[in-house]
């Protein structure tokens, strides 16, 4: 086994991890602000892939899908927040949990009814097929693209949260929604927007994952598990945690598939167990988030 191969596998893990990062970021953002564990999150991911299929069929452009999918699904997420979740605020963590769980099942069934239970092919966009020579090894263009897009989104999100007034409100709202209201901000609008951003990120991850994972109604099922592992490893509500843990899980899974393929699926749970032994709140979890 050569060093090149290990490096290649690590790189593959990072590319794989970008999907985890995007999904977990949305989940974490929503949890951090709304204290809602969104069990429908992975179905918004799946919906992203399906809306991507539609946009691709209509416009013929993968790029149009990348832009439209998060907008369409994010808007749908906002409708769900306003109509379904909003009445449950202030009732503890279990009501919204049950509601989003049910919502996820409804989305899944609706997709099965309207789009069929069979998978739909989703080709890698032409411009991104093939591999590029990175000097040490050849790497699939599309995976490199995943890394680039995710990096760009992280920078944009960081800028939005740290450097704009909206970001300031969101950060403050996550810590102390009451004082934010006293200072004149309609917190329920902040929650609405954050839910839209979170579901939009999940949907974007869905369409980005489509060429690799395929498009089928149950494609969200493993994603929910992965996203929770990432969120638990990174720390509930921590965005930095979601990024680091997403990449760590990606690399762990990818490396295990190289050295010990039988353990591939299990490896992320082992990672989670190890992290939890040493840091019960996850890598970047804040005290008090769950108490």
């Amino acid at each position: 086994m050569t060093f090149d191969l290990i490096l290649l596998q690590a790189f593959t893990g990072v590319a794989l991890g970008t999907i985890f990062v995007l999904v977990a970021l949305g989940l974490s953002l929503i949890f951090g602000l709304l204290t809602i564990v969104n069990f429908a999150h992975s179905q918004f991911f799946m919906l992203g892939a399906y809306v991507g299929v539609v946009v691709l069929a209509v416009t013929g452009s993968f790029w149009a899908a990348l832009v439209l999918v998060p907008l369409v699904v994010g808007a749908l997420g906002m409708v769900c927040e306003r109509v379904l979740i909003r009445p449950l605020y202030g009732r503890g963590i279990d009501y919204p949990l049950l509601l989003t769980f049910g919502l996820g099942l409804i989305i899944l069934e609706l997709v099965r009814i309207f789009a069929g239970t069979e998978g739909i092919p989703f080709n890698t966009p032409e411009a991104l097929t093939g591999a590029v020579d990175l000097g040490v090894f050849f790497f699939p263009k599309y995976r490199l693209f995943l890394i680039g897009v995710t990096a760009a989104i992280l920078v944009a999100l960081w800028f939005f949260l740290e450097k704009t007034p909206y970001g300031l409100i969101i950060r403050a709202g996550a810590r102390d929604p009451e004082i934010v209201q006293v200072l004149g901000v309609d917190v329920s609008r902040v929650w609405l927007i954050v839910f839209g951003i979170g579901t939009g990120l999940a949907a974007l991850a869905g369409v980005l994952a489509a060429p690799i994972r395929g498009v089928f109604p149950e494609m969200g099922v493993p994603v929910l598990v992965e996203a929770f592992v990432v969120t638990v490893v990174g720390g509930m509500g921590s965005l930095l945690g979601a990024v680091i843990a997403g990449l760590a899980v990606g690399i762990t899974v990818s490396m295990t598939s190289l050295f010990y393929p039988e353990m591939t699926t299990l490896s992320m749970f082992l990672l989670m167990a190890v992290v939890l032994v040493f840091r019960p709140r996850g890598l970047f979890g804040r005290a008090g988030v769950l108490d």
Partner: protein, 236 residues
């Protein structure tokens, strides 16, 4: 016209009926003090006015408008600011960001640089610490920051809940000098204080709260000269 008029205000925490018909008013440009023992209902009164207590009935008129059932966030834009008892400096935000938070939803949001300059001038202690994390300030500095943040929006009425609590005397002096200056500039003040002498020196009038009701009211001088009432209804 009075700036704030509270009529028959009732408020509940769960099943406990805390405020039982509180009524008082604050005239434009006045400083009014609420005094009362621990647990009398002073904080609950201010929180009810802000719309922060879940169940409340009665009437709260601000500048002639009924606000009892309007959502909390509408008040700042109308000119009503509130500095809570526990200050509520937001963790994870710098001093400057905490100040900005007082501006983001206020009519002053487009004048940030100017307002921050003005605050830095009024609160030299904060000027040196603009980029420090807000929750690493001392208790007194945090109180200053909370007041500065509330003033950033140029409110017409500010409600202060025990601003001197746990703060060393020098700073308390400084703070009350500031309040006197603000009052002279026309700001209306509703203050809750345990530090009765200080508060009455600032206030024109005072109300005494006991067990969720107003049990006495009068002009400050009168109350200052009445040791009996002070003894009966004031803590410490």
């Amino acid at each position: 016209m009075s700036m704030l008029e509270v009529i028959n205000l009732n408020a509940w925490y769960g099943r406990s009926h805390i405020l039982q018909g509180v009524g008082f008013e604050v005239g434009q440009g006045e400083a009014v003090c609420l005094i009362g023992r621990n647990g009398a209902g002073k904080t609950t009164t201010l929180r009810s006015i802000m719309g922060l207590v879940g169940k409340r009935t009665g009437s709260v008129m601000f500048k002639g408008q009924e606000i009892i059932s309007s959502p909390t966030h509408k008040r700042l834009g109308m000119g009503l600011a509130y500095v809570p008892e526990d200050r509520r400096i937001v963790r994870g935000l710098t001093v400057l960001e905490n100040l900005r938070l007082g501006l983001v939803a206020s009519p002053n949001r487009s004048r940030e640089a100017e307002i921050v300059d003005r605050i830095a001038e009024t609160f030299p202690r904060l000027r040196e610490r603009l980029h420090q994390q807000g929750d690493t300030l001392s208790g007194g500095e945090q109180q200053m920051l909370a007041i500065a943040r509330a003033l950033a929006a140029d409110p017409q009425l500010i409600m202060l809940d025990e601003p001197s609590e746990g703060i060393m005397p020098v700073l308390v002096d400084e703070m009350f000098e500031l309040f006197a200056r603000l009052k002279a500039q026309g700001l209306t003040i509703l203050i809750v204080e345990q530090n009765v002498e200080r508060a009455l020196a600032l206030a024109d009038r005072a109300y005494i709260v006991d067990q969720g009701e107003i049990v006495h009211s009068g002009i400050s001088g009168e109350l200052l000269a009445n040791p009996e009432i002070q003894e009966k209804y004031c803590a410490i």
